[in-house]
Structures are given as C-alpha cells and as structure tokens.
Symmetry: C2
Subunit: 309 residues, 2 copies
C-alpha cells in the first residue's frame, strides 16, 4: 500500500566511536546533512541522480545509497520503479558518516515511501550493504545513530543488537582538516592485541560514558572521554590533533577526539558559548599550521533522519 | 562532636566483576551480611573482637577491619578509644566480598559514630587499606557497592571515580561450592594481553549492561551478561561452572557468572520464583558432583551498609 509517491528527507552526519567507544558508540548531528528525494516512477528499477559535485557512481550496485536500497527492495514484493535524487552536503572522507547518511537515508526514505514496517534492525542491516560498497566492511556504527538519532550503542553486531541511550543536550564543535585519512589505513595501523590493564581502563571509561549520557551528567561525560588504546595510534595521522584537543579542553570543552576514523575532530560542550569558543581554537590551530579546514558548531540530533516533505 | 557512643550495623556481601564488568562493576546483596558493633571505650587505641569462628587475626594492623579503621583514624583528631566487635557471617574466601564487608563496615560505622563528614571516595580509600591486608592489593570493586549499595561503577581507580547506577529490582541466586580459589591464583592465570576484537565485544557488553541497569531493561541486562575474556579462563577453577550456568539460564535466569574471583557463582533473575527455581538447579549440580555447597536466594541491596541501632 503506497501512501504517497514522493518523499524528501534530511539524512544527518554522525560521529562514530566517541573516543573510548570504538566500534560501539555513535551519535547523530543536526548539521551537516544530505538531502535525499525518493519518488515512485513509471520506469521499473532504480535510478540514482546526484545533484552534488562529488562524482560518485550512479550505477545502483556501485552507489552506497543504491546498494542499500537494493538490499531493502529484495524484501519488498512488487516494488514500484524508484528514482533517488541525492544532494550530498556531507563531504565523503570527512569522518562524519557521509556514506552512512546515504545508506541510512535511502532505506529510511524507502521504508516510509513504501509504508513498509521494517524494524530498526532490518533497516540497519539493509544500510550496511551500502557501507560495504563504501569501505568494504559492513559496519553499523554511523548507520545506527543516523537512523535512530541521539546517542546509540551497538552492543553486538552479530547478532545485531542496537540500543538508543538517553542523553542530555550537547553542543558539538567539529573541525574537518582537509586532508585524507583512509578508513582502511586507520584500521590497519591498530594493534591486534591490547594489554588487559588498558582494556580495563577503557571499559571503565565506556561504562562511565554510558552512565554519563543516561544521567545527563556532563562532568562524568567529560571525565569518561578518554581513550588510551585507539586514539594514541590514530591521532598521529591527523596533524594538529593534540593541540586541538588541548586548546579545546582549555576553552571549556567536555572532551572529544577523532570523529570516526578521522580526519575530523569533534568536541562535546555543555553550551553554545563554549562550542563557539572551541571553534575559534580549532580555527587558530589549522590557520597556524596552514591546512585548509571547515568547522561546524552544531547540536546532538535526537531524531536522526527527518522528513522534509 | 560525638552523637552516640555505640553503633551496630549490617555490612552486606557483594558481587564484584558482574561478568563482563571485570574490575569495574559490582553490586550489593541483601544477604548474607556481617554484624559489626563499634563503641567508644575509655581505653585508648583500638580493640578488635571476633565473635565468629573464622580465627581471623585481632591485632588491628593485621585485621581487615582494623587496618581500614586505622587508616580512617589517621584523619581524625583526638579520636577516642574504640572497641570493634565483628560477627562474621560472610565466609572468607567465598568470593562474596567478605573482606570488603569488614573493611567498609568498619569505616562506615566509625564515620557515623564519630559523626565525621567523610566523602564516599574517602571511605573507599580508607577501606582499601583493609583489602590490602586481605589480598595484598588495594582493590575497590567490593568495597564500593558495600558502602554505596545498588550497582556501582569504578570508572577509574587512580584518581578514584565512583558512580552509583540506577538498577531495577533483581532477585539473585548464589551457590558457594565449598572449594578454595585464591584471588591471587585467579588473577595469575589471566592473560596479560587480549585481542582487540574480543575487547570490543567486551566493551559492547559492558555498555549494554550499564544501559540495561539504568533503563531497568531485564532482557538487555541478560543479553549483556557475557564475558569472552575472563570467564573462560577462570571458570576452569570451578568444577560444575558450565553446567550451573547452562541449567540456571534454562530455568529462566537472566544470566550470571563467577562472583568476584570465585568460587561462588551468581545468577540474576527477574522474579523470586525464577530465583528459587535456579537455586534448585544449582543444588542439583553440586549434589550430583558431590561437592559441599551453600546457596542463597537474595535481592539487590540498594542501600548498602545499614544501621541496626
């Protein structure tokens, strides 16, 4: 039963990992976001149009949104012809979940347009086919917050077990230094083994971070945003990282770190004034170093993907 | 300013580790508990009397409660003479926080009796001197739930950062097979390194467990009570462990595992009927194996140490 024949959505950028929550925690941002329009058309099959300038493939199987949509359509009987128009505003390779926004946005739009009652777990699974096209790996840590909004936990990937966590208002500052960090490189340099005592430290911080979000305890969130395992290794790929972190925290940020596998760096803040002060510090660092950058001052997005019309 | 000259308290048993929460999570039990009486006496110094039959040392420096009390008294000006009478009901070496109950009970009783405004962190630190006497290590994972009640998180031991977590009603079944597992042995057999992918699995479960407690989501608590790192190694020291776990979960337990470093095994349950059914399974296993045992059917103790009079 088709209730409408066109839908337009905003699919938000997301931050995966959240410092100590490597591979399990993520959150959705108010900005930036992609705009995606999905419409029922007479021509059977799936057509993809990009109105942005990122020269992404438009063959459905090779396109992140397309591959996710095809996975969903496999589960729909008598699906109509569809046309997906994507205006990508989240720069690919930024570490802000650009491919997840495409994949999650496409499946959410289709589920609404086709009025099909998929579970959140189903939608995450379909969208993971898009992530596989993007990075070769079916990860869900950006998809989940994009779809559900707020702060999300992937307790287990197999079987998939996702949990939305309560969280207080958070103002988020991001700097995206315009350098390339490949996800595959960022994963490659990680050590395969960790010391038990470091792992224990990490799980104390993860537990503290989850408790901090759920209690709305900004100070506990800040104390828990420590990562002794991944960040020391990965941050060497991001020039200026240590200085951004130090200056941001001195300016009042609760804490933060690498967004996804980088190169973007994010900082969580209690209020907008601090978020803006942190932005000035980030600008200062990359202006001094001489690397092009883009900054965002945004908020935690509690809804995830939003229907525009 | 002394408000009273005698105080009697119940100091509860506790479960440390909570499966995936090795070294960071713990909870307090309604039963068993020690009864401790602290009174102001004319004779200066500290006298310790045990009315139980465990033949524990009564020289204050060598006694768990005594060492903790001496650490506290170091911070009190003009302390009066004190007499501590301990009726130990939590068997030493059970894995149920017997030494923590002595140490935490002693410092809580003293802080109330002397009407001294110590912080929770102060009390934990004093009590850790008692744990050092008991096991040679200043750990806090039994002390913290004993003092605070409920489910507690030690986010960081240095600096000490303790967090009490909300939790739903939980009915808890425990079996204490009467064998000896030394904490030092149980620690020795752990591998010093863990695979990153196993650590990630573990931190997903820890985050899920914290979220499950705070949401009061019994099913999520159950799914999160998995430990792929510590339990497979330590459980070999406890005959019948796998069968107890399998039969308890078949009888409806949410999940559980080794209490502290063992040999006691605990199971969390949603209701008293399940807790009692689980007890029958535990009895069945150890009767069959032919190892003496003791069982408890109890509840989460949300208050911790309680003043009797």
């Amino acid at each position: 039963m088709i209730m409408r024949n066109i839908i337009q959505i905003k699919s938000p950028a997301t931050i995966a990992n959240l410092v100590c929550g490597f591979d399990i925690l993520g959150l959705a941002l108010e900005e930036p976001y992609d705009i995606m329009t999905l419409e029922v058309v007479e021509k059977p099959g799936l057509e993809i149009i990009h109105t942005d300038n990122y020269q992404l493939p438009t063959i459905p199987e090779d396109n992140v949104a397309g591959a996710a949509l095809l996975a969903l359509l496999d589960d729909v009987k008598n699906a109509p012809g569809l046309k997906l128009t994507v205006e990508k505003r989240i720069k690919p390779g930024s570490g802000l979940g650009s491919s997840a926004a495409s994949a999650a946005g496409a499946v959410m739009a289709a589920s609404k347009l086709l009025d099909h009652d998929f579970s959140n777990e189903d939608l995450v699974k379909f969208a993971m086919f898009g992530e596989k096209v993007a990075s070769g790996v079916k990860h869900a840590d950006n998809i989940t917050p994009c779809l559900l909004g707020g702060v999300t936990l992937i307790r287990s990937i197999m079987p998939l077990d996702i949990v939305k966590l309560d969280a207080p208002d958070l103002h988020i500052t991001i700097v995206h230094p315009q350098i390339e960090v490949k996800t595959s490189d960022a994963r490659q340099i990680l050590k395969k083994e960790v010391q038990l005592k470091m792992a224990i430290k990490q799980w104390g911080n993860i537990a503290g971070l989850v408790a901090g979000f759920m209690k709305g305890d900004h100070a506990l969130i800040g104390r828990s945003l420590e990562d002794a395992i991944i960040e020391p290794v990965r941050s060497i790929l991001i020039p200026g990282f240590d200085e951004v972190k130090f200056r941001s925290k001195s300016a009042g940020a609760l804490g933060g770190g690498i967004s996804g596998s980088g190169p973007s760096i994010f900082m969580l803040n209690k209020d907008i004034e601090t978020a803006k002060a942190v932005e000035q510090e980030m600008k200062g660092v990359y202006t001094k170093i001489g690397i092009d950058f883009k900054t965002y001052v945004t908020k935690l997005n509690t809804e995830g993907i939003k229907i525009i019309e």
